[in-house]
Amino acid sequence: MSDEHKPDQNNDENLYKAYMMKTKNDIHTSPTLSEEEQREIIRVGSNTARNATVMISLAILLLILPLMTLITYLYYGIGGKANTMIDVVGKTIYVTEPNISLEEMEIESEIGLFSMNVKFDTFKRIGSEDYLAEKVDVYFGLDEPKFPEKISFLEQLPPMGYGIDVVKDGQKMYHPDAMVPFNTPEAWDVLDGLPDGTVAEAYLSFSQLINPDDIDAFLPKETEIRWLAVDTGLEAEQLDKEGVPITPIGYPAQVDTTTWSPFNGRDQTNEEVFLDILKLLEKNEETAEVVSKIKSLEIKERRKYVEDKGIHIYGAVVTGPIPELRKLEQVKEIRAAKVGEIKLWNLK
């Protein structure tokens, strides 16, 4: 380093020392916080932070229920999932439960957290009046149904249990090639013992497969056909291909003038509606099996059979006054009958 630079260096050092002295002086003379003030700042700061945390936690807790509710509604609402489930439940009843109808307008759906309850009443026509048959409540956890809870108002309680119990207790109509497991003349004895001033429903098994349009020809005039059991290829054996018992499927024989009924007869005949319902149930077979409490519906195979061979009937549910039902004994096309619900005279 040359001598000419030395004065500059000394000058810089002096400036630096002066600046440092001033800074130290500033620090000593500037306002400082007492220990008490510092504690106060820390106390207020921690209180503020704690309060904010508590309030935000409260907000998050209060958001949980609305958010879960919203997610549930979005799940059921988007894509019409809930409406499809309700549709499947209602239509399963029509095709698996003989002489049972329901008021589509009165089907209620209650949406809970990630679940939905479908509630409705079913009715049975006996004579000329519809009687409340069951109050049904089907619970869905997301899209998984549970067995329906039913409160029955019928004198003859519906079959309890699931699968084979339903088949054994509930089956009242039999294919011409199937063995009838009950005493056939018993139904005629029951009808003979009933007073004339009553009405009843009767489950008929025919001695041969019949075209739906031909049934009216041999039934007494005062009787009304309510439900037709369709031959789907499995009824002779009463077993599906895996050996699981099956029950009758069929459709209402009469046009239901109720606006929302699928069998309202406006655009399609009942037979066409029946086939459409089978297509719907084929896509939702698990739901239909749980709702009907039947272990195997085997819808795909049965639908194909019906489409290939056409609709042929092997059984029917009829209702009418007892004197008219007694005449059924003389009809050669009927090989077995079972008396269902009985009510006091209600014909006009």
């Binding site: 700042i41 904010a52 958001l63 229920l65 609305p66 509604y73 409406n83 309700i86």
Partner: protein, 101 residues
């Protein structure tokens, strides 16, 4: 240096309007929860639209206040905005599920 120490001593308080917005949001949210828990459709309309909208307004005012923490203002806007949106979406979805004339 003096200036910096003085600046540090200033605590960043929450905005009052933001805080009120947040409290309104919590109140409306609590009423909404009660309505959902007791499964009623008769939640007072005051807590669904007028109060939350006031909360959103106060929250926005809180956001433009200078030198104040905007944490509660943001929460207030979020919660108060959520409640009417929640109600409108729920109404729409309820109409689509099992719709009857």
């Amino acid at each position: 240096m003096e200036f910096e120490i003085k600046k540090k001593r200033k605590r960043k308080l929450q905005t009052l309007t933001g805080f009120i917005s947040f409290i309104i949001g919590l109140l409306a949210l609590a009423v909404l929860n009660i309505g959902l828990l007791i499964e009623t459709v008769d939640i007072p309309e005051l807590f669904l639209f007028p109060l939350p909208l006031l909360g959103v307004f106060l929250g926005v005012v809180g956001l433009v206040t200078k030198n104040r923490s905007k944490q509660f203002a943001w929460w207030g806007i979020g919660i108060n905005g959520f409640i009417p949106i929640f109600f409108i979406i729920m109404m729409g979805l309820s109409w689509t599920i099992n719709a009857k004339p």
